[in-house]
Each structure stands twice: as C-alpha cells, then as structure tokens.
C-alpha cells in the first residue's frame, strides 16, 4: 500500500474528506452494500440514517479500513482507508464497543493518547466528554451513558479532523442521549468533520448538517434534515370510505394504506392532494381526521416507499 506524499487532503471528489463510490459488499450470500455512494464533506456532520441491517456499520467498517474492499472505491483523505497516515487524522467510536473493565477512565485516555503524535491533553478530553468527576473510576463501575462518553473521548484522543460515530447513542436513556448530543455538537463547533450512523431520525435531525438515508445497502435519499423530513410522509389520514384500499394505494403521494377497523389509515406527504381525489370519488366519505405522525413513522414510510419502487 503506497501513499503519495501531498495527496493527503486533496482528493477526487474535491471537498470530500471521505468517500464511498459504487461500493458493493457481501457476507457470503447476504448483500450488505449494493452500490453505495457516499461523500463526506469537510466540516460537516453527516448522518447515515437507516434501520438495522441497512448497511450502515459495514459502510463505517470500510471507511475505517477494518473490512477489505470487495468492489468499488473507498478513499479517506485521498488515501486507502487503513493507511497509517489516515489513522493519525481520524478517530472512531464503534457500535457496542467497550474497553477493559479494570482500567480507570484516565488510564484509558492516557493509553489512547499515547498512540498519537499530537494528542489532546487528557484534562481536555475529560472536560469535553464530561468525565471529570469519574476520571479515577474503573470502566466497569461507570453507567451506560458514562461508558459511551469514554468511548467518545477515546475517539477524540488524537485530536482528529474526522470522527466516525457508529450508533453512539443506541441503548442510552433519554438523558444520557441528550448529554452525548451536547458533546457531539461541541465537537462539531470545534470544526471537526463527523460521520454519524443512527436509526433515529430525531437524532440525525438534531445533529447533522446533511442526512443520507440508507436502505438495503444503498443511499435512497440525501439532503438537509429539512429536505429529508419534507420527503418523508408525515401526515396520517383516517376516514371511512367506500373507495377500495388498493385504489388508494396507487394514488400519488400515498406512502402506505392500512385498514383499521372501519377506517382506512393513509400515510401521505401532502394529504390535501389525496383528499381531493378521495372526496371526488366518494362524496359520502366521513369520520375524517388528519394528524401529524412522529418522525420515526415518517422515516419508515420513506424507506418503505423505496422498497415498493424496487419491486415495481
């Protein structure tokens, strides 16, 4: 593996610091990535949003050089992702990863700092991760949220330009999640580029400049949080009508239809368009209700919509 001097920092996609281009990856018969294209721009927080099994962790593992590239191109700072020069400039927080229970928070941070030529001082790491009070506590005796904050501090140990956070808040309670969000925002304010994977639209919305929605190993939608939310079907229509379920399903803008007792339950991005057609076909339509749905449901319709297009 050779790295040209001076190539680091300048790369094919111009402003991208990390990039997956046409990447396919399979584990035996299981396709994890199916032609994924993903570019991370300098200074942004990119959220990779998708359900479990969408390929998020595989994408991160390829960007970290932990998995060999099977097909396609993976570049970080214009280099091979596992190159030594890259390792000094990036940090990572892996999904469900721990460190030995018997060492204290400070000892872990001192150890990881020693790996880097110009690390952040341990006192600063303790401060940015809110760990000052537990610095001399062993890892085993920390709460779940504190453990995740240690893993976050370890990712920042080398004062990295680029940070990978693979599902940093999975399994945390609301309070611990909010606390980690604050620290991720502070990290972004300090000018670091970050790639964050999550299956919470709320989290992507709260932290990211840009969201890439992944489903079945491909990016199915990409844009600012506002753009992604507007594409997601976020209105629920409930009504009693004699219009057939199958007929409603094919109307433009309808993401999902289900029969719910006497009612039809319809998820749609623009309920006015759907209602106009329904009322024209069924003047007797009654018991009408239009409500907003949670972000999570909206996000589900986004990827379900993609699934149906594939089958069509």
């Amino acid at each position: 593996m050779t790295v040209a001097s001076g190539a680091a920092g300048q790369n094919a996609c111009g402003e991208c610091v990390a990039e997956l281009a046409g990447v396919h990856h399979r584990y035996g018969d299981v396709v994890a990535l199916d032609g994924m294209d993903l570019g991370v721009r300098a200074g942004e927080v990119l959220a990779v949003l998708g359900p479990n099994g969408a390929g998020k962790t595989t994408a991160i593992a390829l960007l970290l050089g932990s998995l060999p590239v099977q097909r396609g191109e993976v570049r970080v700072f214009g280099c091979e992702p596992g190159a030594a020069a890259v390792r000094f400039r990036r940090g990572a927080m892996l999904q469900a990863s721990g460190v030995p229970n018997t060492l204290t928070v400070s000892e872990h941070l001192e150890l990881f700092s020693s790996y880097y030529p110009a690390p952040l001082p341990v006192s600063q790491l303790l401060a940015v991760a809110g760990l000052e009070d537990v610095a001399s506590r062993r890892f085993a005796r920390l709460s779940g949220g504190q453990k995740q904050r240690v893993m976050f501090a370890l990712a920042l140990a080398g004062d990295p330009e680029l940070v990978f956070l693979d599902e940093p808040t999975t399994g945390l309670d609301v309070e611990a999640r909010r606390s980690l969000w604050r620290e991720i925002r502070a990290m972004k304010a300090a000018g670091r580029t970050a790639v964050l994977t999550t299956h919470y639209l709320e989290e992507a919305d709260a932290l990211a400049d840009r969201i890439a929605v992944v489903h079945r190993g491909r990016v199915v939608a990409e844009g600012t949080p506002a753009q992604i939310k507007s594409r997601a079907a976020d209105r629920r229509i409930l009504c009693v009508t004699r219009v057939d379920l199958d007929e409603v399903a094919v109307l433009p803008g309808v993401a999902r239809v289900e029969r719910n007792g006497r009612h039809l339950e319809i998820l749609a991005a623009r309920p006015e368009d759907v209602l106009r057609i329904l009322l024209a076909r069924d003047p007797d339509l009654h018991d009408l209700q239009v409500t907003g749905v949670g972000l999570e449901d909206a996000f589900l319709t986004l990827i379900r919509g993609d699934g149906r297009q594939e089958e069509a």
Partner: protein, 259 residues
C-alpha cells in the same frame, strides 16, 4: 505499508517507545487488578514449592529439582492468561477492533503481553529462588542461578504463542476454563509437580508430547537433573510448537475478521 512523508504525522522513535511502554503499563495494571489471575499466578507456585520442596522434601535433591520445574510452572499462567483470556475478552468486547482503528502498532500490543508475562514470571522465579536459597537450602553456582532463570523465562515464548492460539479461538466466557484445562493437566503430566521418573511408564512416554516437559528438561539440564535427551530435541519441539500455535492463532484471526 508506506507512509506519506510530510503528512506531519510520522512518529519518531521516542513516540513509538512510549506507545510500547504505555501499552505494557495498561496490560500489567489490567492483570494486576484481576485477582482470578494474580492469585494462581503469584501464589500457587510458591505455595506448592513450600509444601513439596521445603516441608515435604523426601530426598536431598528434591528442593533443587523442584526449583526448576516450579519455575516452569510459574511462567505458564502469565503467558497463557495475558493472551488467552485477555485477548478473548478484548476480541469479544470490541476493544481489539477499536484499537485496530487507531495508529497503535500491532507490535506494541503483542510486546505488552509478552512483557507482562516476563515481569510476572520473573517475580515468581525470584520468589522461588529466595525460598530455595534460604528455606530449602539449595546451593547452586552463580552461573546456574542465572542460566536457570534465563531458560525458564525464555519459556514465555512458546506459551505466549499457545495463549494467542487459545485467545484467537475461544469465547471470553470459556477462556479461563480452557486455559486451566490446558495448563493444569499439562503441568502435572510434564512432571512439573512430581518428577516424571515416578510416573508409570506409559505416562513417562506421554510426557514428551507436551512443550512444558521440554522446557522443564532444558531447565533441569542446567542443574544436571534432566532425563538426558539432547538439547536440540527440546529446542526443536519448543520451536515447532511455537510455530504451530502461531499458525493456529492466525487461522483464528482470519476467521474472526471474516464475517
């Protein structure tokens, strides 16, 4: 792997040395805070030596003989536990994968575990020598003390390789049990607790398959109490075992990195 010059990140020798020291320190702290490790490692060889080498020494040469074999007995656990249990645990917790994403040199990781085995092994050997020279009245030439310590401590190499093979394959939950299942029967059958010559003949013949037997014979050669087989045989078996364990370990890691 070539690294770009001018990336500003090329680490100097002092930086690399510091990583090795810090990794070794972390490893020593980790095991020192694990009583399940430290008690059998540090106490058992000394305790057994007091029982069988000092209190119940049936012949005048027994304390001298057991000094060599309990030395071998003493260096096996730190070698097996550091790699076997430590590696299996770090593999399962994801700590190993995380370290592999950092610039930590793999050499530092391996060095730290070998160094820990050497340090704990040296502590046991020192304790045994003090007991032997005082309570048991063992008298050796000065070169014999040093040669005995040197042979015994060099023995961490094949057993670290065996630990690596175990750590690469077994689950963390099972690692302690597996290490003990390998280590205790091997110690007995290799003649580390009682001399092989008191074994029934079929057990004497079986002893030659164990690396611990060959290490013990090399140690016993220093004090002229070995079975008389050539040094080359012992070195060849220990070398072959080391290579075989490393191959088994590398297959284990390949299996791990594959999905």
């Amino acid at each position: 792997m070539a690294v770009a010059a001018g990336a500003g990140a090329r680490p100097g020798l002092a930086h690399r040395a510091r990583v090795y020291v810090m990794e070794t320190r972390a490893q020593c702290l980790t095991v020192a805070r694990t009583p399940a490790f430290t008690v059998p490692t540090l106490i058992f060889p000394l305790m057994f030596y007091v029982f069988f080498g000092v209190v119940m020494a049936f012949t005048p040469t027994t304390p001298t003989y057991l000094l060599a074999t309990y030395g071998v007995f003493g260096i096996i656990p730190p070698s097996l536990f550091g790699f076997g249990v430590g590696l299996a645990t770090e593999r399962e917790s994801g700590a190993l994968l995380l370290k592999q994403t950092t610039p930590m040199p793999v050499g530092a990781y391996l060095f730290a575990r070998v160094a820990m085995a050497l340090l704990f092994g040296a502590a046991v050997v020192l304790g045994l020598f003090l007991l032997g020279a005082t309570a048991a009245g063992v008298a050796l030439y000065r070169w014999q003390w040093f040669a005995l310590a040197g042979v015994v401590l060099a023995g961490v190499v094949p057993f670290c390789a065996l630990g690596l093979a175990i750590g690469a394959w077994v689950r963390a939950q099972a690692a302690v049990a597996i290490v003990n299942l390998v280590y205790l029967p091997m110690a007995f059958l290799s003649g580390l607790w009682v001399p092989v010559w008191v074994f029934p003949s079929f057990l004497q013949e079986l002893a030659v398959v164990f690396p611990a037997y060959h290490l013990a014979q090399l140690a016993l050669k220093v004090i002229a109490m070995d079975e008389g087989q050539p040094v080359v045989l012992h070195l060849a078996v220990l070398g072959a075992c080391t290579v075989a364990f490393l191959i088994v370990a590398s297959f284990g890691f390949r299996r791990v990195s594959a999905p």
